[in-house]
Amino acid sequence: MIRVVVQKSPIDIMAEMVRVEGEAGAVATFTGLVRADDGVETLELEHYPGATEGALTKVAEGACIRWGLSAATIVHRVGPMHPGERIVFVAAASAHRGASLEACAYLIDRLKTDAPFWKRETRGAEASWVEARDADEAAAARWER
């Protein structure tokens, strides 16, 4: 079961966990948060409505097929956020742990390069767009085969 959500409201991890667990034996999750330690006051997430949901669904479907998951969830926030808030939550559920752990890493690695989101950070009066990292391309590429 694939669940893909792009939302302005905070991510309800507990509700997402219960949904993805279902009757699985193993659930791996990854949560990305606005870091409190690097001076960012506001993080704003822009996205490409319509295309975002399609891209995330493709990533989730890829994981489900490759690892035979019972469920995959991707929830991504958009709009303004503050340090400590959750930006993204991904989860992979399967019968055994190996599949869920690998699929979870795949979900977040591919999301980083395949989904149309852009981050803008505000520190004091300064606003700047976050630069894409070569490391993200490399992390996504290791799943190609």
């Binding site: 990305g32 997430l45 822009e46 996205h47 490409y48 319509g50 295309a51 399609g54 891209a55 991504h76 930006i87 993204v88 977040i108 999301l111 980083k112 390069t113 395949d114 989904a115 149309p116 989101f117 852009w118 981050k119 803008r120 767009w129 976050v130 630069e131 894409a132």
Partner: protein, 85 residues
């Protein structure tokens, strides 16, 4: 042929708009051609498209390389490398 253009992040900011509708001339066949043509339309467009290495595109919501033919595209998006997650 009329195409809806969508701009995101600093591409949108430099151009000063998130969306516009254009009818490119017939010799514009690829996205790269389209970007060249758009760059001549305003200082903002020129600034947004100055660094092609940092420009990405989607045709009808699918990510594609800049040398992709426009074909029958209805919606083309131009934006920086993505930074979600």
């Amino acid at each position: 042929m009329t195409i809806t253009l969508l701009y995101f992040a600093w591409v949108r900011e430099r151009i000063g708009a998130g969306e516009e509708t254009v009818t490119p001339p017939h010799d514009v066949t690829t996205i790269a051609d389209l970007v060249d043509w758009l760059a001549t339309s305003s200082a903002g467009h020129a600034a947004a498209f100055a660094d092609r290495g940092r420009l990405r595109a989607a045709i009808d919501q699918d990510f594609v390389p800049l040398d992709t033919p426009i074909g029958q595209a209805r919606e083309i998006a131009l934006f920086p490398p993505v930074t979600g997650g």
